[in-house]
């Protein structure tokens, strides 16, 4: 393998591996961009990254290949997933463009840039491949370590400082210091009474056992769903499941069946126009 890497051309095996995995990587990248849900995007990206890790290994960057899998795919992508969960797994991002001309401009720039880049690479005289063999002679990790702790030690130290700073920064950004005393239960209830809004506790969400009940808005007496019943976080994520339509269609079916059984006339059937309108 070592000798092959030094060669001007690569082995057929690597070529095969490249073409297969490159296809996977490009598809993964495209899916990252075009998947509606952030979770799917994240998963596709993770796939691409793993493919890239394989390519690193194939290029003789053993250390980086492992790091790519462990740190990137393992840690960073998981961090992404955490955040996606926080922000809302199912929150679908509509792909409809709102800024006029943005999509076309973006595609134009993208295609143009890509063509230029590819053309540039094709133009470059990249015929001489030294191969990584000699550099990796003393072992890839040892070679990297020798460089990092000698020539790049300063950058390395600074990068360390950067990481610490980033960690602290993330803490600062996400942590909210309580600047005032937490209000007691009593004070909260007094305030509620004083404001005169929702003096009793908020209504409970719906209770359809078919779903995770907390994300289903409870229905008001007239059949309209009340968003108040759903937790604020879910409301913010837009993850309220509206079942009133289902409930109504169930009701409709029930009544139809009842009507059939009782052989009532069509026009005597009670209508739910108002609630239908409201639910829309």
């Amino acid at each position: 393998m070592t000798t092959q890497l030094a060669a001007y051309t690569t082995s057929t095996g690597e070529a095969f591996q490249f073409w297969v995995l490159a296809t996977v990587a490009v598809i993964g990248a495209l899916c990252t961009v075009f998947m509606k849900k952030a979770v799917h995007s994240a998963l596709c990206l993770a796939g691409t990254m793993i493919v890239l890790a394989v390519f690193y290994l194939a290029n003789g960057a053993y250390f980086l290949g492992i790091v790519q899998i462990v740190v990137y795919t393992g840690a960073i992508m998981m961090l992404f997933l955490f955040v996606v969960m926080l922000v809302g797994v199912t929150a679908a991002d509509s792909l409809r463009e709102t800024i006029k001309g943005q999509r076309w401009l973006a595609l134009l720039c993208g295609v143009g840039f890509g063509v230029l880049l590819l053309g540039g690479i094709a133009n470059a005289s990249l015929k001489d491949f030294d191969g990584i063999g000699k550099a990796n002679a003393g072992g890839n990790v040892e070679g990297l370590a020798a460089l990092i702790f000698t020539r790049y030690v300063f950058a390395f130290e600074i990068t360390g400082a950067l990481l610490i700073t980033a960690a602290v920064g993330a803490m600062v950004l996400t942590h909210r210091e309580r600047t005032e005393r937490a209000r007691t239960q009593r004070e909260l209830s007094e305030q509620r009474v004083r404001e005169g809004k929702h003096v009793p506790p908020l209504p409970a969400p719906g209770v359809y056992a078919r779903h995770n009940a907390v994300d289903i808005a409870g229905l008001l007496p007239d059949g309209t769903p009340s968003e108040l019943t759903v937790n604020k976080t879910l409301r913010d994520r837009g993850q309220i499941r509206d079942v009133s339509d289902e409930a109504l269609s169930d009701l409709k079916a029930l009544e139809q069946r009842a009507a059939e059984r009782l052989e009532r006339a069509e026009d005597e059937r009670p209508t739910h126009k108002r609630t239908e309108e409201a639910s829309k």
Partner: protein
């Protein structure tokens, strides 16, 4: 196969990532696209390292990873706090200008 194909792949991935940044509105996905672009760069660095027969390209890719990690940490923290205040992860909502 000429290893220069890795470079073509890197360029393609970079372009896809960049287009994604421009098209998507969800801040998290935008962020992922940026990661994609960084990874494409790393691939190019690694390939160059192989081309030139030294490890400096890999060192750069290594540093890129570290910095990307730091960036991701801070960036995600920003997204989270943004979401807390605005209840949205859309980058368009950050615009307060009137036209």
């Amino acid at each position: 196969m000429n290893p220069v194909n890795y470079l073509y792949l890197a360029a393609l991935l970079f372009t896809i990532g960049a287009t994604g940044v421009l098209i998507r509105r969800n801040a998290i996905v935008v962020f992922m696209c940026i990661e994609l672009m960084l990874n494409a760069c790393n691939l190019a660095f690694v390939t160059f390292s192989r081309m030139h027969g030294n490890l400096d390209g890999q060192i750069i890719a290594f540093f890129t990873m570290v910095v990307a990690a730091a960036e991701v940490v801070v960036g995600l923290a920003i997204i989270v706090s943004l979401f807390r205040t605005r209840h949205s992860a859309s980058v368009d909502d950050a615009s307060l200008m009137k036209l």
